[in-house]
Point group: C3
Chain length 131, copies 3
């Protein structure tokens, strides 16, 4: 299991971590298998989506806030209940097949760390399984 | 890693791919393990849900559109921002345990390819890990 | 593959199953790898979120019902269409890295079974893969 740190700079943000994940696949000796990217946080998530037009990220973040507004009457009093809910909707892990040492992503796919309660120092865990 | 192609015929559609995935499990020599179904697209997804009453699929697709309407003021100008958002909400992969060469799905579960921006030619990747 | 049963006592409920999953990791002889928790149901899900303040669970369940109300005009006539939709939004599996026989969860993370159509007798399947 390998990890890397990242620093988010905004309250809500999607950061492309595809290259950092590919680097961990490179460093493993695994030719073929499955790569799991896991986020050990409860107000952040990881997702796969388009890495070409940056406006897709903005639309995803705006839609998330429209779906789960910050100002609903939440019981959790730390002011970040919406971020917890988004974390569960987007999910704490993604899986990508590895073929000949490459993440087998589609043409337009990138792996994104989703910050919903930043800015913060965050960690991403990556496990590559042989198979 | 094995892949298969499929052709969607509507703008939004859920296609039962359980048998196609089971066939790949059959062809692998793996008795027990984990099967990952991965969609290499950013306006489609894969999910597990009821395969008995077809109206469940209709309700899921209608709810997705009600949650994320096509006509919000998106920044992504290709007209399919809603499909990108749905893709991240439903997810790009599912995992199913494999026991004695069978996908260990519950009685009512099927694996569904979710088209959110069709009709299109699509690909599904399947990786079976031994364990 | 190991399974355990649980009984939900309310219509909607999030039950912390972290210890039950860790027990299965303990019983396996696997030092390092990946643990998959899979729910073989179509009106329940599994998610990872905060296990400290119990109000986070309440906020997640309330938000789910606010997003997908029970009384929309669904086609599925069993009265639980909303539960099926929530199941697909939250997902049927989670993955957690295993390091030195421990689930590598973040400080505030717990694994939760999500009941959306209870009370019922339910099953959770756990598969630990070496790697």
């Amino acid at each position: 299991m390998k990890s890397f740190a990242l620093r988010t700079s905004r309250k809500e943000e999607m950061l492309d971590i595809t290259e950092a994940v590919q680097r961990i696949v490179d460093e493993s000796s695994i030719e073929d298998g499955l790569c799991c990217v896991f986020v050990p946080h409860t107000t952040a998530a990881v997702t796969i989506n388009e890495n070409a037009d940056p406006s897709v990220k903005e639309d995803i973040l705006s839609a998330a806030t429209r779906l789960v507004p910050e100002n609903w009457d939440y019981k959790h009093l730390e002011g970040n209940a919406h971020a917890h809910i988004k974390a569960s909707l987007f999910g704490s892990s993604v899986l990508v097949p590895v073929v000949r040492r490459r993440l087998l992503l589609g043409t337009w796919q990138g792996i994104f760390f989703c910050e919903f309660d930043g800015p913060r120092s965050r960690t991403v865990s990556v496990k590559v399984l042989k198979g």
